[in-house]
Amino acid sequence: MDSFAKAVVGLTASVLLLLMVALPLLYVDPPPPGFVESFVLTAVFGLAASLLSLVPGLAAAVAARRGGAWGALAQVLYIPAVVPPTSVGVLLLASFSLPRLFCGGGVEVLCPSASFVSEHVINRPLGVLIAMAVMALPTSFSIFDGALREERAEAFFRALGFSGLRLLLLLLLSLRSATASALVFSWVRSFGELGVLLIFASYPVTASIYIYQAWLSYGVGPAVGASLAVIAAVAALAFVARRWLS
């Protein structure tokens, strides 16, 4: 590696380590109760959401490579990445609150949907999964889009006679490095998701909500402790997963 590049990497990494690890260590206090639960919950829901995002992300990347109207439509998957996460939370909340609105307005056929949403979606585990999956889509999409630029696997498998879901599954397996990256990076990203969860699904408590609440209730020290624990655990798990998957 070129010495200038080494200097830039060294400087950037040092500044980040200083700001995000070394200096905050001066404040560190043990995290309040509930850290492990929130971490495990985020890991499980993040993994499920990442898995759910793979096929739609890949399908959108395939469509984007083909261009035309479907290619333009595929760009919609970038929306969660380019608007503030709080906006995504507000928009999801508004959409899922519609049955209740109409039910209250006399459209009784929507009342079962309204009660399902309030019992099972908003501020419920399913809501966490939906929010995380929505936020994972842009990551999967962009990684597969990049992979398909390099390798024209779709044309090869289609010419062999594959189509539909089978084609997408073959692409997922063939582009395994991209699939692993999409899985790991969208999973890691789920730990950083606050805005959408805060508004749409703040319960059960995920890692970001837990840190936010720790800061509100106990101050900087316990929140720093929890943040550093998340950084250490996620970085280690992501490293191991990336090595294992690729």
Binding site: A153, A159, L160
Partner: protein
Amino acid sequence: MARRGSFVVRVDRLEVNSVVSVVGRNGSGKTTLLDAIAGVIKAEGRVAACGRDVSRLPPERRGLAYVQSVPVDPPTRVDRFLRMVARMHGAEAEVGEVVRRLGIETLLPRRGGLSTGQKQLVNLAAALLARPCAFLMDEPTSHLDWLNKKRFNDVVKALGMPVLYVTHDPFEAMYVADVICVMEGGRILRCVGGQREELEQVYRVAESFWSPLR
């Protein structure tokens, strides 16, 4: 006629009954031509394969195997992948023969870690097992070393099937093809007969460089 952005490929007629090579410089429209024939991009006009008009069919129903310059990773273990393709096309009995023909027996239990040349041979095996009417090959040897290139091209020459073989290397075109068409600016300028005999001598000499090592 096919478009890619503002670039237009216009070919009045191109008949492929043996190995036909299209040579041309970068950006002359070779890949766009193959994509249009394969159905990967939209094209105006008529594409016939297996004695039928396939112009309106999607790539998976055209019966045209498409081997690319960057070989695709087999999605599963090589043997499972080849069996999967063969099963789909009723060619299960041919797996062994295709594997022997391409000399890839040792690759069968492998899933990852294949070299580019090995992957390209696996791609060709899968293409053969799809029982296509013709092959489209887009610079299939551009990432291969000379010996693997020769091995791949020897298989292509022995296929006995229509192959539209794109390359920017005129020597390779002369070695592999019966007819060589020159493409420039999105058009086929001329087609001439391949000239193999002299070149095969050159190839034999080149191959002898490796002979003590093999």
